[in-house]
């Protein structure tokens, strides 16, 4: 995958048309976004796990169902 395609993939959209970066810089920007998304996903997962631990056990199933887990 080219750096430009990787950036579009990470952004989930075409990058701004006026963005003019070298191949290496485009790849670096894509990598930063990838890492931010990974960290965000991990943070959400950890938060959900922590939240479910606090919900009383009998209610966890209901909460999981409502949340869609």
């Amino acid at each position: 995958m080219s750096a430009a395609a990787s950036l579009a993939h990470q952004l989930g959209a075409e990058p701004p048309t006026g963005l003019s970066l070298s191949e290496a810089d485009t790849g670096q920007l894509a990598a930063l976004i990838k890492e931010a998304r990974r960290a965000q996903g991990a943070e959400l997962e950890a938060s959900l796990r922590k939240a479910l631990e606090i919900v009383p056990r009998p209610l966890r199933g209901t909460v999981r169902k409502v949340v869609g887990l």
């Binding site: 989930g12 920007l29 931010a36 998304r37 939240a51």
Partner: protein, 235 residues
């Protein structure tokens, strides 16, 4: 060439990506409107992720009374999760929840709120709660969140909050306010007695670009009032 506006955008992008500003040095020569578009797309990408789960969590707060939901949110939701859930709640429900959680928890949530939802929520929060949360955000150096908030709050509310913020918090927040016209309007709100301290802080922090950005947007009256304190910068 890196302009002040570009530097503000890079600061905001770095905050979104949770990376050092130096990592985005490659963007220094990009046009500011391109950086703003990049930030908008990145905001959509990050805040729309896992939306189904967040909507499900928001639903759980609806099946219990508001006070109970606030208690659950405080105890069970880490701030980053509570902020993301608040971002997908209906505005009135988010306001109800925000009004019931302790102020320190609200200040934990505030910097992580979806910037696209901030306006509708802030406009409905009680004024004193905003002052109290603003004070904590200032003490915690959450300048980008504060800049986002003062971008959309009525000037009257900002005026109420200025008194609880330190000179450094005001200057550093001013440095990342997106709209220079808004920055100018806020500078004009600062009481005369605080201007010498603000000017000294601007000098100490080498933040003269803040005054440069605001300068063209100051009213004649505001310019006259501020020129004594910032004279050498305003010209």
């Amino acid at each position: 060439m890196s302009t002040t506006e570009t530097r503000v955008e890079i600061t905001r992008l770095a905050s979104l990506l949770a990376c050092p500003e130096e990592s985005l040095a490659m963007l220094a020569d990009q046009p500011v409107d391109v950086l703003k578009e990049l930030r908008d797309k990145l905001t959509d990408r990050l805040f729309d992720a896992n939306r189904d789960i967040l909507v499900g969590l928001a639903r759980t707060t609806k099946i219990v009374p508001g006070g109970v939901a606030a208690k659950i949110a405080t105890v069970a939701f880490p701030p980053q999760l509570a902020a993301r859930v608040a971002g997908v709640m209906e505005t009135d429900a988010a306001v109800s929840l925000a009004s019931r959680v302790p102020v320190p928890f609200l200040a934990d949530i505030a910097p992580k709120l979806d910037p696209r939802r901030v306006t509708s929520i802030l406009h409905k929060l009680p004024p004193q709660l905003l002052v109290d949360a603003g004070k904590l955000l200032g003490e915690r150096a959450e300048y980008i969140a504060m800049a986002d908030f003062v971008a959309v709050l009525p000037l009257e509310q900002i005026g109420r909050t200025l008194g609880v913020l330190s000179d450094e918090a005001l200057v550093r927040t001013g440095q990342v306010i997106e709209d220079p016209a808004r920055l100018a309007a806020i500078l004009e709100l600062i009481p005369a007695g605080r201007l010498p301290g603000i000017a000294e802080t601007v000098r100490l922090l080498d933040a003269g670009d803040l005054v440069d950005r605001a300068g063209p947007h100051l009213s004649a009256e505001g310019r006259a009032r501020l020129s004594e304190a910032f004279g050498s910068v305003l010209g």
